[in-house]
C-alpha cells in the first residue's frame, strides 16, 4: 500500500542575528520519515527540536530550504494548499486561540461547508456539522451560536477536531494538541485520535513533548533533538527499550502519577541552546552521559538496530 506521507531529506534553515554577525540556525536538519494510512505517528521532542517547523512545512504554511514531501506519491509543490488538494487538516496547541474570540465557533463550520461545497442547503449543512460533532462527543444543539469563551479548553479542542474532520481528511496534523489542556482531560482528546484511526481510517501526525500520551496513542514514533531525528521505530521498541541516550533521558523524565516512582537522580539542563544548534558532530554531545571523543567531531549516521533507526555512535 502506498505511503500516505513521505518526507525525504527535509531541511529548514533560518538566518538569525544582525548584518554583521549572522548565524544560520538549522531548525530541521535533513530528516526523513514516512506515514502509512490509518496510522498515528508521533514526532516527539522538546521545544526547539524542529517538530513544529516540520509540521508547518508539511502543512504548506512554510517553505522548506531543501528536501521533498510526497502526499500519496505526489510531490508537494511550492505554496501548495494541501488542505484543499491533498485532504490534509490541522489542529493547534491553544484551543482558545484557534477560534476568533469575536466570532461564533459555528461560523467556521459554515464557512468550511461553503468553501468546500460540502452541502447544498442549510439543513444539509447542519446535519453534516452535527454528524462531525457527534463523532467528537458533542451535539449541534449545545454548540450553535456560542462564542469560544463559553466552552472549556477540552471542549474547544474537540470542536477544533470536528472542524478538521469536516472535509474528511486523510491526514490530520495535531500540533501539541494537549499541552494546554488540563492533564485530566487529555485522555478524551487522545482517545479521539484512536477513534479516528480505527473508525475513519484517518492518519494522525501527533506532535508532542508528552511521551506518556505518545506511548498511549501512537503506532510509530520519531524522537527529535535540535533538528535531527535521533531515534525512530514502533512506539513499543523506542519507548520501552530506548537506545539513544536522549530518548532515555526523555523517558526517565516523565512524571509518573505514583509517589513511589519518583525520579531517582538529578538532571543537568542545557546552558544556552544556541550552542547546541551550532555544534560540530553530534548535537547531544554536550550533555550525553555516554559521550565519546568521536561524538564531538563526527555526526553520527542513521544506524538500523532491529528495525529501529538510531542516530548514535554507540551503535556504529
Amino acid at each position: 500500500m502506498e505511503k500516505l506521507l513521505e518526507v525525504k531529506d527535509l531541511t529548514k534553515q533560518y538566518a538569525q542575528g544582525s548584518l554583521i554577525a549572522r548565524i544560520l540556525i538549522t531548525a530541521v536538519d535533513h530528516i526523513s520519515f514516512y506515514m502509512n494510512q490509518a496510522e498515528i505517528f508521533t514526532l516527539a521532542g522538546e521545544s526547539g527540536c524542529g517538530k513544529t517547523t516540520t509540521a508547518k512545512i508539511v502543512l504548506g504554511f512554510e517553505e522548506a530550504t531543501s528536501g521533498t514531501i510526497l502526499h500519496s506519491g505526489k510531490p508537494q509543490t511550492r505554496k501548495e494548499k494541501v488542505w484543499i488538494t491533498e485532504g490534509v487538516q490541522a489542529i493547534f496547541q491553544d484551543p482558545f486561540s484557534t477560534f476568533n474570540p469575536l466570532r461564533t465557533v459555528d461560523s467556521y463550520f459554515f464557512d468550511t461547508v461553503k468553501n468546500y461545497q460540502l452541502a447544498q442547503s442549510k439543513q444539509d449543512a447542519i446535519e453534516l456539522i452535527d454528524q462531525k460533532l457527534r463523532a467528537v462527543g458533542l451535539t449541534y444543539g449545545e454548540f450553535v451560536g456560542k462564542y469560544p469563551n463559553e466552552f472549556s479548553g477540552g471542549q474547544l479542542q474537540r470542536i477544533s477536531i470536528a472542524r478538521a474532520l469536516m472535509t474528511e481528511p486523510k491526514l490530520l496534523i495535531a500540533d501539541e494538541p494537549v499541552s494546554m489542556v488540563d492533564a485530566s482531560l487529555r485522555m478524551s482528546i487522545v482517545n479521539l485520535f484512536k477513534k479516528l484511526r480505527d473508525e475513519l481510517g484517518v492518519s494522525v501526525l501527533y506532535i508532542t513533548h508528552d511521551l506518556a500520551t505518545a506511548y498511549y496513542v501512537s503506532d510509530r514514533i520519531a524522537i527529535m533533538f535540535r533538528g535531527n531525528i535521533v531515534e525512530m521505530g514502533t512506539v513499543e521498541q523506542v519507548l520501552m527499550n530506548p537506545r539513544h541516550p536522549y530518548t532515555r533521558l526523555l523517558r526517565d523524565s516523565i512524571p509518573q502519577a505514583d509517589p513511589r516512582k519518583t525520579w531517582a537522580d538529578t538532571v543537568t539542563l542545557a546552558e544556552l541552546e544556541h550552542d547546541e544548534y551550532l555544534r560540530e558532530g553530534c548535537k547531544f554531545a554536550g550533555r550525553c552521559p555516554m559521550v565519546m571523543e568521536r561524538c564531538k567531531t563526527q555526526i553520527p549516521g542513521d544506524i538500523s538496530v532491529e528495525d529501529v533507526l538510531v542516530k548514535c555512535h554507540l551503535y556504529d
Partner: protein, 284 residues
C-alpha cells in the same frame, strides 16, 4: 437595542448624544430658513437677540440663528466627507499593507509616512490658495481627507500584523477562506473600535482645520460654515464692539461639538474594545 441601552449608562455618551441630536436638528432646520444665507442685508444689521431674531443679527444683515443652521450643516458635510473618505483609504491601505507585507507594504507605508512628515499646514495653505475659487464643500472635504488617513492606516496595519500570527488565521485558511474574506471577517471586528473612534476624532479634526483655514481667509467666505462665521465676526470687530451674540454663536457651537465628539468617541471605543467585548460576549 441592548447596545444603546448599555451605552446610555455612560454619562458621556448620553451628553454627547444629546448635543449631537440638537446639532443635527439645527442642520436639518436649514431647509426651512426664511433667508438666503448668501445674500446680504436681508434683515436690519447688528440687532441683539429678540423674539424675532433668536440669536440677533450680524453686520452683514443676516439672521444669526438661520446662518448658524447653514454653518452647522456645511461644517458637518465637510467633516463627514473628510472623515469617511479618509477612513476608507486608511482601512484599505492598512489592511493591504498589513496582510500582504513585502514590497506592497513598504510602498504604501512610504507614501503614508511622507504625508505624515510634510508640514500639513503649509501644504493646506498652498493648496487652498490655488483652489480657492473652485472650492466647494466637497472639494474641501476631499482635500482634508487626503491628509487624514496616514496615521490610522499605520495603526490598522499594526493590528493586522499581530492578528495575522494568531492561530485563528490558520483556522480560517484551513476552512478554505480566501484572503479578502479572511481580512474582512476575522480582522475587521478587531479594528472596528479603532476605526469608529478615529472617525469621530477625524471629524473633529476636520472641523477644527476648516475653522483655522476660514479664519485665515483661505476658503470661500460666502459659504456659511462655523469657520466663516467666526471669520466675519472677527472681521467686523464684534468682540471689541461688544456684539457678543455674533461671536459667541460659532464659538459655543464649535465647543459643544468638539466636546460631544470627543466624549462620544471615548465612550464608544471603551465599549467596543475587544478586551471588554470578549467579557461581555456570550455572557448573557
Amino acid at each position: 437595542m441592548k447596545t444603546l441601552r448599555d451605552l446610555f449608562r455612560d454619562y458621556r455618551f448620553a451628553f454627547s448624544f444629546g448635543v449631537l441630536v440638537i446639532i443635527l436638528v439645527m442642520a436639518f432646520l436649514s431647509i426651512f430658513s426664511p433667508y438666503d444665507p448668501t445674500l446680504w442685508n436681508v434683515v436690519p444689521k447688528d440687532l441683539k437677540p429678540s423674539a424675532e431674531h433668536w440669536l440677533g443679527t450680524d453686520s452683514n444683515g443676516q439672521d444669526i440663528f438661520w446662518q448658524a443652521t447653514f454653518a452647522v450643516r456645511n461644517s458637518l458635510i465637510i467633516s463627514l466627507i473628510a472623515g469617511l473618505v479618509s477612513r476608507v483609504i486608511a482601512i484599505l491601505v492598512g489592511m493591504i499593507a498589513g496582510y500582504q507585507g513585502g514590497t506592497v507594504d513598504r510602498v504604501l507605508m512610504f507614501i503614508g509616512d511622507s504625508l505624515l512628515v510634510i508640514p500639513l499646514f503649509l501644504i493646506m495653505v498652498m493648496l487652498a490658495m490655488l483652489v480657492r475659487q473652485y472650492m466647494n464643500l466637497v472639494i474641501l472635504g476631499l482635500m482634508l481627507s487626503v491628509f487624514g488617513w496616514a496615521w490610522d492606516a499605520r495603526v490598522i496595519r499594526s493590528i493586522i500584523l499581530s492578528l495575522r500570527e494568531r492561530d485563528f488565521t490558520k483556522t480560517a485558511i484551513l476552512s478554505g477562506t480566501g484572503t479578502v474574506k479572511l481580512v474582512l471577517n476575522e480582522y475587521m471586528p478587531f479594528a472596528m473600535p479603532l476605526i469608529f473612534s478615529t472617525l469621530i476624532n477625524n471629524i473633529a479634526w476636520a472641523i477644527g482645520l476648516e475653522i483655522t483655514l476660514a479664519i485665515l481667509g483661505l476658503v470661500n467666505l460666502n459659504v456659511p460654515t462655523l469657520g466663516t462665521m467666526l471669520n466675519w465676526a472677527l472681521f467686523y470687530q464684534s468682540i471689541l464692539l461688544g456684539r457678543w451674540w455674533w461671536i459667541l454663536t460659532p464659538v459655543v457651537l464649535s465647543l459643544l461639538l468638539f466636546i460631544a465628539l470627543y466624549w462620544m468617541s471615548v465612550s464608544i471605543s471603551e465599549y467596543l474594545d475587544p478586551r471588554t467585548r470578549i467579557q461581555r460576549v456570550g455572557a448573557s
